[in-house]
């Protein structure tokens, strides 16, 4: 087949003077269009808000823990759209959106270190180690806000007893899942990843320390630390590591992420304490999500009766 081609450039192809003289206007127009498009995207995001996140699965046979707080639970929507999960973005609305496709199946947690019976637990096994309890805890973030959440899980001590720590085990180190491919925003989080946390063994053995697999009657949403996380209700929220993959029993105090990032501001203990301010803000009060006025923060987040004895004789200003 013969392809017909126009011979050459002719005078009618010459850019009209008006058009090329308008290059600056064109560039300005381009700039304006880019801004408008970017602005519109931002606008629609701002109006409609972030997406809804993953759909949790209902958990059956959950028994009510008798010591739950009777305070009003924070709405599920708030607890799933106001998250600090830096692997999925540092903005509080980002994890709900970015954790949507986080793969949590299959999942296993490796328990190792100074234990007689190191082993790997599959998620199925973790769900069946003990009867699941619904525990409504207060949860206080170091940033000065708090929520009340019906977590589901059982005392972490159940798992500890199964692996039988040796006499050398003094601390427990937790490690969260980190895979840059699934968590591309992790590199710009400003903290070292994978996320690591730690507790003293006696803190870990306290019955309040919860191995958490769900909330609000169902499995954990991805942005809240699916499929299994820690909950230590008398400490600031960042102590409760999410999406656990490794639990290690160790002899010495393990490094912890926020302490590495800024030792001056985030201590190893990080117990909720209204009398010890964060260097940049007061910890005396907190804003309960859903309430307008700040309320006073309670010592040990109100769990002093259960945990104060762990810190007898310790200077809590020094061990913040």
């Amino acid at each position: 087949m013969l392809v017909k081609r126009s011979p050459d450039l002719t005078y009618k192809d010459v850019t009209p003077k008006g058009a090329y003289a308008n290059r600056r206007n064109f560039l300005l127009g381009l700039l304006a269009t880019t801004c408008a498009v970017a602005g519109w995207k931002k606008f629609s995001y701002l109006v409609s808000g972030p997406g809804t996140g993953s759909v949790p699965v209902k958990l059956n046979g959950v028994v009510k823990w008798p010591y739950s707080t009777t305070e009003k639970e924070t709405s599920f929507n708030d607890v799933t759209h106001y998250n600090n999960y830096y692997e999925f973005g540092t903005d509080k609305g980002e994890p709900a959106e970015n954790a949507k496709n986080f793969v949590t199946m299959p999942w296993s947690v490796s328990v190792e270190g100074e234990v007689k019976k190191p082993r790997k637990f599959s998620m199925d096994e973790i769900l069946k180690l003990a009867p699941l309890e619904e525990r409504i805890y207060r949860h206080r973030c170091v940033e000065g806000w708090s929520i009340v959440v019906p977590w589901i899980g059982y005392s972490f001590s159940t798992l500890v007893k199964l692996v039988e720590p040796t006499s050398k085990a003094q601390f427990v180190a937790f490690e969260s899942f980190y895979e840059p491919k699934q968590m591309p925003l992790g590199v710009s989080a400003g903290i070292e990843l994978p996320y690591v946390e730690g507790l003293r063994l006696d803190e870990a053995m306290n019955p309040l320390t919860l191995l958490c697999v769900g909330m609000y009657g169902a499995t954990l949403p991805n942005q809240d630390g699916a499929p299994v996380r820690m909950i230590i209700p008398w400490k600031y929220g960042f102590k409760s590591a999410k999406s656990l993959v490794k639990i290690r029993f160790v002899q010495n105090q393990p490094p912890t992420t926020w302490n590495i990032a800024n030792a001056h501001e985030y201590g190893f203990y990080s117990n909720v304490n209204p009398n010890v301010d964060h260097p940049r803000w007061s910890q005396a009060k907190e804003r309960r999500i859903g309430e307008f006025l700040r309320r006073p923060t309670l010592m040990f987040n109100g769990y002093g009766d259960q945990v104060a004895s762990l810190y007898n004789g310790m200077d809590l200003k020094k061990y913040y």
């Binding site: 808000g49 830096y86 540092t90 609305g93 007061s282």
Partner: protein, 217 residues
Amino acid sequence: MNSLLTSKWTKVVVFLFCLVPLEMLVLRAVRGNLTANPIEFITHTTGDWTLRFLVITLAITPLRSILRLPQLIRFRRMFGLFAFFYACLHFSTWIGLDKFFDWTEMWKDVQKRRFITVGFTGFVLMIPLAITSTAGWIRRLGGKRWQMLHRAIYFSAIAGVIHYYWLVKSDVRKPLQYAAMVGMLLAWRLGSWIYGRGRRVAAGSAPGGEITTAETA
């Protein structure tokens, strides 16, 4: 382009556009869609827009020169006043919503928390600029003195960026973006000042030399 820039309607349209961030907040408030922590969201949004308008205001002079569009000056006061407007909203959110008029606690914060100290300073520096932004005040002060006074905006912008940088926990990307923008805009001024001085010296040393363009900072 010129007629577009000098039309009074453009000013009206730009004015309405500058109000969009506030409209967004009101719209979201009406819909009950101010995130789980509305006060924090309002504080961050108004703070963000204060910094953005400071950057836009500081960008006018370089853009006038680079794009050869001196008419852009028509918008500078408006942008500057919008920076002040959002700063006022930011500040009153802190007073009325965040601290709920707890003056003793606020005063403690201003003294004790350096990010609040520096933010407060940046805000206070903007007040005389907003007051003397009228034509009457330019006349009363005289162009030179007025210009000197209004260079305080450089310090407000720097204070705003530091305020933001000291506030964040670990992800400093956004404060650094603002720092880069403010830094570039101030560096341009420094550059054009040095360049302009060089030319003035050269022009002065050669008798009869002409100064072709008046440099403005």
